[in-house]
Structure formats: C-alpha cells, structure tokens
Subunit: 168 residues, 2 copies
Amino acid sequence: MSRKMELSESLEDYLEVILQLQETNKVARATEIAEKMRVSLASVTASLRKLRERELINYAPYKFVTLTSKGQTIAREIFRKHKIIKDFLIRVLTIEAPKAELTACRIEHTMDRAAINKLVKFVAFIDTCPRAGKDWLQRFSKCSSTEFDWEQCDHCLDECKKHHQKRK
Amino acid sequence: MSRKMELSESLEDYLEVILQLQETNKVARATEIAEKMRVSLASVTASLRKLRERELINYAPYKFVTLTSKGQTIAREIFRKHKIIKDFLIRVLTIEAPKAELTACRIEHTMDRAAINKLVKFVAFIDTCPRAGKDWLQRFSKCSSTEFDWEQCDHCLDECKKHHQKRK
DNA sequence: GCCGAAAGTTAGGCGCCCCTAACTTTTATG
DNA sequence: CATAAAAGTTAGGGGCGCCTAACTTTCGGC
C-alpha cells in the first residue's frame, strides 16, 4: 500500500542524500548517510525503516540501501528543486555558494511543483530576454552593494540593444 | 538572561501572529492566537510560556499578551521577511496570492537577513532598472505560460528605450 | 577460518509541538 | 451580585526526529 501522506522534511533529506550516494557508489550505506547528514547511525536506522515502510527504498537490516523507482522519482524531484533554488540564489541573488547550498536545502521543502516551475521559467526568462541576461545580472550585482546609478542607463540601454543586434 | 538560542519556526510564527493582533487590537489574546494559527488553546498556552521565558512577550496566566521590545524587534524582522518574500512570489513569479501567502509563511523561516536583503535589492532593481520594470514583468508573465517569443524583441527594446527617455 | 574492528541495530531518553479532556478563572448578563 | 458561558490552564498522551549506550552482525587481515 503506497501511502500518499506527505514526507517530512527530514525524510525528504534522507531520500536526497541516498540518491546522491547511489549515483556515485551504486548503493548507499548507513555510515555514509549518517556522515552526509551529520546525524548518528541510530537516527539513520530509524529513518531507513520509515522510508522502507513507505516503499521508497530497498533495504534490509545490515544491508545497503537503494531507491525504489517510486523513491527515485521523489528524490529526483526534490533534488531538482534544490538545484533550481541554488542556481537562483547564486546566479541571480549573488549569494555565496556555501550559504546558497544551506538555504536551498531548506527552501526546497517549502515550494511546491508549481512554484518551482515558475522559478525555472523566471530564471530562463532572465537568461533569454535581451533586456536581461548576464550583463544585466552583473549590473545588479554591482549596484546591489550600493545605490542604483541612473547615469549609466542610457549607455546601458544602447549596449543592450547593440548586443541584441549582434546576436541575430 | 536573554537566550541567544534560535527560535523554532513555530515560535517565530507565534511572534508574528501576536504582532499582527497587537497592531489591530493593541493586545493579543490566546483565543485569537489559537484561531489565527489554527491550533488548540492548550498549544497556545504552552507556546506563550516559552516566549515569556525568553522574555519576548509580556504575559501572565489568564492575562493578555503584548510583545516586549525585544520580541517586537524579532517579530517585525520576521514579518518583514514575510512581506518581502510574498511580494516576490506574487509580483515577480506571478504566484496566486493565497498560495504565495502560504509559501511565504514557510520560506520566511529559512532565509537569513543577508539573503533577504539580497532579495529586497533584487526586487528594487527590477522596479528601478529601465531594462526591467513593470512591463518587463508583464512580458515574463505572458511568456511564462508559453515559449519565449524572439520576434517581439526588437519592438520591445525600442519601447523600453522610448519609455526610459520619457521618464527623464 | 578466527577475531577484532567497523558497521549497524536496539533500547531508552529528550525536546518540540500538537492534541483532548478536565479543570479554573474571568466576564458578562439577567 | 450570582451564575452560566467564555476564556484560559493543566494533565496526560502521541508523533517525530534526534541522541547515547549497549548490543549484534559483518568483514578484512592474519
């Protein structure tokens, strides 16, 4: 019986970690999970039992762990959220990678699929729209530490247009 | 002794609710808090005791609640985060208000001051930079449901520049 | 193949936050 | 001003996630 009940943030984190371990090592082991998540082995055991009950992992006591296909689907979804949020935090908001990593870890549990997809679209829009783009983000990153400098706008708009013509 | 220990998300929520009740009614009452937070009165009592221990609220059994100045500072900070995130979700990502409200409620506990300030700057940048602005957001909102339409770019860039000249 | 170290599990405990049920205090109304 | 209703508290219990300590299983090297 597959429960439709929501996973706790903690269990989502476990799934995510298991996915990453599985992708590098084929399987995940309790010790590695414990290290990655910075929790005790006892906590890992308890969580693995819960994940197995929900049929999200293949696991037996003293054995290694792999994701079931259901588990993989969910884990990939969470990991996708993580990457999207982290990308936004780093590239758009110019937050330092280590802090972005931590913050993404927490936000990933709080945005539903629809919201995440909006974020994806928005970042893609920034990357695509001639009025935005890399140089626009760079301008933000410069002025984000100071005040907005209206003096540069004319020149900036010209550059922007020129750049767009070149691309065509 | 003022603990520096971090507040749980739950206690942060209580502070936020108390702030809002206090601003409309001068004081907050347990019943109102319970209703707003959709928890039982018993849960409210327990949380009020914790907040009082941390000297974040003025409160005695059977009496109403007000924030101490320390509590007000923290509550305002959280509420500020909430408003900023909600504004971003609604105005930039074009997420529906009710869902934005819920999502903001959760993200508000996960972004530190620095990250929030980046977000503020970014939204301000969007509102200020001639290359972005209201019409740019509108374009995003249109294309966010479809594909990016390169055909419009030339016209859009011209409009953008024209608009900027007018403003000067 | 034995045995110690490493890996994993179980038991028991704690903090947090929530609940219901039974109780007490406050209040408002006749 | 008495008393019933409303507001608030306490007691007790549950789920979750974490911990340490004591135990068991697994595995690598002699």
